[in-house]
């Protein structure tokens, strides 16, 4: 029995006829050639979030981001005028990676006045201009103006720093984000900057982890033992239904809106003892921070339900912004490293705690997140290995898994369009 209203089409999925209701083929998560084509078809033409402005607090602040899926590394830096710039992380002399410490493959951050290459000492200013060449007189008519760092397109929305590695982006960042941006403009992201960051190397295709967090159908079962016994039985019996789903145009961003504000719970026996004492848990600290949340932006709680607890926005292709009713948010990023692996990042953002008790309550929320994520992450490796067996190719997805269906559909469209265009080019050229 449905506890929450569905669209008049009868299901969320049928509201979007392009998705169909057939079983979904998961070869897109195991096929190496498919993964090769995703690099250009999906990632090179998308705006990708690589961090937040707080990581670039002042002139000279920088961080690097490894983009294995695009076979590059980029530097983000705040220049002398306060503008955020992005460059490929490569020295123009002989191709050494410009910014790194100890391990070339690890991301780096800090503050500097200029970038100096470890290899031969070439130097670049914060605007990317080549300013110094060691033994310049040994070169042959070297025009330093022609050897600046190679820029990448950078833009910022609500403090989120995005890059686009296309030669010319098809849309501005604002156009790309579309209803995600208009729906969330004005949310106080900039007042929630107390950050916990987790990373994990996951032995599964990047889309499989997005699938895992894009549906909560699994929650009452996989995470059953996180709840006290009686509550767990009740949750498993009822199952999960979202309040609302929506898929946006023209880019396949989406949102799932859910109930679950347990802050505080109606019955203290519903939660574990430490949650009652610290007034905190998976949904975050029960006591809201001193941030004005009285007027939420229009994209939040789209069904206007009084039991609203959280909205999870899937920012295509590989980012999630998950906003919790009690006044904090988190982001997930899924950075592909091979057909069967990716680097997962989770950032939890809270208001600066006013006192040590609030910090201790936050700790419970963060640790609870990790306990859940460990269960999710390991399950994915079990899925990946069996998909690779090839024994079963197609899988039935239910209405509560509409965002999984949407993700695979959107990637398939892009890859097939890319392949068709390439075939045309080959035909014309050949």
């Amino acid at each position: 029995m449905a506890h929450f209203a569905k669209p008049e089409q009868g299901s969320w999925t049928e509201l979007y006829p392009q998705l169909g209701t057939d079983p979904v083929n998961y070869d897109d998560s195991i096929d190496p050639q498919w993964f090769e084509d995703e690099r250009d078809a999906v990632f090179r033409r998308s705006w990708l979030n690589v961090g937040r402005v707080e990581q670039l607090a002042r002139t000279g602040s920088y961080f690097t981001k490894e983009l294995d899926v695009l076979r590059t590394s980029v530097i983000l830096v705040r220049d002398a005028d306060g503008q955020i710039r992005g460059f490929h992380n490569i020295c123009r002399h002989r191709g050494n990676k410009l910014v790194w410490t100890d391990y070339p493959g690890e991301e780096d951050s800090g503050t500097c006045r200029q970038f100096a290459c470890k290899y031969h000492g070439w130097r670049y200013d914060l605007e990317g201009a080549l300013t110094f060449v060691q033994q310049e007189q040994e070169f042959f008519d070297l025009d330093k103006d022609a050897y600046g760092l190679v820029p990448v397109h950078v833009d910022v929305w609500e403090g989120f720093v995005f890059v686009n590695l296309a030669d010319e982006p098809e849309q501005s960042l604002r156009e790309y984000l579309g209803e995600i941006a208009t729906g969330l403009d004005g949310y106080p992201f900039g007042e929630m900057t107390y950050r916990y960051k987790y990373t994990a190397d996951i032995g599964a295709n990047w889309k499989l982890f997005i699938d895992a967090f894009a549906e909560f159908y699994h929650a009452p079962i996989l995470h059953m033992r996180q709840s006290v016994a009686e509550e767990a039985q009740k949750l498993a019996g009822v199952g999960f239904e979202a309040l609302h789903y929506e898929i946006f145009e023209p880019v396949a961003h989406s949102v799932v809106s859910s109930w679950g504000g347990m802050a505080p719970p109606a019955d203290p026996d519903m939660v574990k003892p430490i949650e009652n004492v610290l007034r905190s848990g998976l949904f975050g600290p029960w006591d809201k921070p001193d941030i004005d949340l009285s007027e939420l932006p229009p994209g939040l709680n789209p069904s206007g339900h009084r039991a609203w607890g959280t909205d999870s926005f899937q920012v295509y292709p590989n980012m999630v912004i998950l906003i919790w009713e009690p006044g904090w948010y988190l982001t997930y990023h899924y950075w592909p490293t091979s057909p069967s692996s990716h680097r997962f990042e989770a950032n939890l953002y809270f208001a600066q705690p006013k006192n040590l008790a609030e910090r201790i309550s936050q700790e419970l929320a963060a640790v609870t997140f990790k306990e859940f994520a460990l269960q999710d992450g390991n399950t994915l490796e079990a899925t990946q290995t069996m998909l690779e067996s090839g024994v079963v190719k197609e899988f039935p997805l239910c209405d509560q898994e509409i965002l999984c269906r949407n993700l695979h559909h959107a990637v398939r469209e892009q890859v097939e369009t890319y392949r068709a265009g390439r075939d045309v080019a080959v035909t014309v050229g050949g």
Binding site: I274, P353, L374
Partner: protein, 112 residues
């Protein structure tokens, strides 16, 4: 006590000072390396004091100056209690069930 590591109000928890660990990695490693009996003993001693810890900690402001070392230690002890609460209250074993070799380390831990 000359070598007190916790505020005097919490002298009874000094014997658990090996759980005063400043990083999430240390706390999680100690959890995985402990028996359930060891964690239950720490929990049984510290959990009944958690309300008092929160009442005390509410009087320690953050964000406008350095935090006293003893207060910081008290918070790190409380963080360890949070870490062991999952094995004690939910899992009945040190590691998360079905998590195998999966690891999700905290790489940016907000300071105070």
């Amino acid at each position: 006590m000359a070598d007190a590591r916790l505020p005097t109000e919490f002298a009874d928890l000094e014997e658990w000072s090996d759980w005063i660990l400043p990083t999430e990695a240390e706390r999680y490693t100690k959890r995985l390396g402990s028996t359930m009996a060891e964690m239950q003993a720490f929990y049984d001693a510290a959990f009944p004091r958690l309300e008092a810890i929160q009442a005390y900690a509410a009087g320690v402001p953050l964000g406008d100056g350095p935090v006293d070392d003893l207060d910081r230690n008290l918070a790190h002890l409380a963080f360890s209690l949070v870490t062991v609460s999952f094995p004690v209250e939910a899992w009945k074993q040190p590691h998360v069930p079905d998590s195998g070799a999966a690891a999700i380390p905290l790489v940016v831990e907000p300071g105070f």
